[in-house]
Amino acid sequence: MKHFKPDTMRNLCGSGNATRRALLLLLFFLCPLTAFAHKRGGEAIGFMSGFEHPISGLDHILAMVAVGMWGAQLGTPAIWVLPVVFPMVMALGGMMGLMGIRLPGIELCIALSAVALGFAVFREARPKLWIAAIIVGFFAIAHGHAHGTELPAGASGVLYSIGFVIATGLLHATGIAIGLVHRWPAGRVALRIAGAVVAMGGVFFLWKAVSGEAA
């Protein structure tokens, strides 16, 4: 009885420990099984490419993080209304882009979004909720449309869309997490500075967009 080892899994895995087994399990999940599930003809893209798309451009990142920061600054219910509005309206813009519906001045609008949202955070602007939602929704259309027109051709982009929306949501969550420093006096100042940085980044992209259009 003294040498009896009841832990069969441990014996099976040699002298393995919980960390190694967890790693093993993680690697099993990373197998490409799910990624290929229901792959239809023409689905040339997957979750990861969708996830990477919103975080591949700094202009998009600035605007989406700024939405979260502004929401946190405005407090309840804006803290969750704005991040709920943005992905839905952005997806609507993405749908329009995918359908080939043309909208003018998209690049300008994207750059302007970082300027406006950063400035709102810097100024601690407190408009009515519906006005804030319209401002955010307006810019979301531009961001979504730009993404939609850039998406590669495919018959079904379900995994891509999931990755895309999750990445966007996580960017908002990052903005909200940053914006929570608003509760402390020093954090309030830091948040305003962060807003100014976002707005300056937006000015840079605006300058690039204007010079690009002029060229």
Binding site: C13, G14, S15, G16, R20, L24, L27, F28, L30, C31, P32, L33, T34, F36, A37, H38, K39, R40, G42, W80, P83, V84, V85, P87, M88, M90, A91, L92, G94, M95, M96, G97, L98, M99, G100, G148, L151, A153, G154, A155, S156, G157, V158, L159, Y160, S161, I162, F164, V165, I166, T168, G169
Partner: protein, 205 residues
């Protein structure tokens, strides 16, 4: 020490072999190797287009209360089973990509809005979703020539388990932020649906 190293090497080899031979899912039905019932059971979890509206409906019902959750728990798998049988039987060429996506968008939007809905309406949504997705699943199975009945039973059991877990969790939500998180999940599902609609339209163009 030597035994430990040997164990580690074996583990890594097992991982490498598993990754090398990991079976890619067959079109519209995952082949688990355990038979049609288990193929059906796992089907839902590797089919995001099936899973998303189910998540939205289960959370929507759960947020409305245990009575709503219980109704969806029983109505949805039964409707799916009926739809699957019907699809395999009468509609082997059926394809309704936009209708199913619109239903996903609608369910996501209803969850995001968290609006009070009557029980009959939620049950009707469960019947609609179950019949629609079931018919499409059954139709796909009929095309591949798979034995559909046990697969459909497996899918129904998977649905029952998923809805009971999701609706149960949503029904037990008491804190405000958790309810908000579920509503955000609804907006994400609606957003995914909108993008899918764009894809479907572009694919059809």
């Amino acid at each position: 020490m030597r035994m430990r190293r040997l164990g580690l090497n074996l583990s890594w080899r097992a991982v490498a072999v598993t990754m090398a031979v990991a079976p890619s899912a067959q079109a519209h039905l995952m082949n688990t190797g355990f038979g049609p019932f288990y193929d059906g059971l796992t089907h839902l979890f590797v089919s995001p287009e099936d899973l998303l509206p189910v998540i939205a409906l289960a959370l929507l019902a759960g947020l409305r209360g245990p009575r709503f959750g219980r109704s969806v728990l029983f109505v949805l798998p039964v409707a799916w089973l009926v739809g699957s049988t019907t699809g395999a039987w009468i509609a082997p060429q059926l394809s309704l990509p936009r209708l199913e996506i619109i239903l996903t968008i609608g369910l996501g939007a209803l969850l995001a809005a968290d609006c009070p809905l009557p029980l009959a309406f939620v049950a009707a949504l469960a019947i609609l979703l179950g019949l629609l997705r079931g018919i499409l699943n059954g139709s796909e199975l009929a095309k591949t020539g798979s034995s559909g009945q046990m697969v459909a039973v497996g899918v129904a059991v998977g649905l029952f388990v998923s809805v009971s877990l999701l609706a149960g969790q949503a029904a037990s939500v008491r804190v405000r932020w958790a309810r908000v998180a579920l509503r955000v999940a609804g907006s994400w599902i609606a957003a995914i649906g909108l993008l899918m609609l764009g894809w479907a339209t572009r694919g059809a163009a």
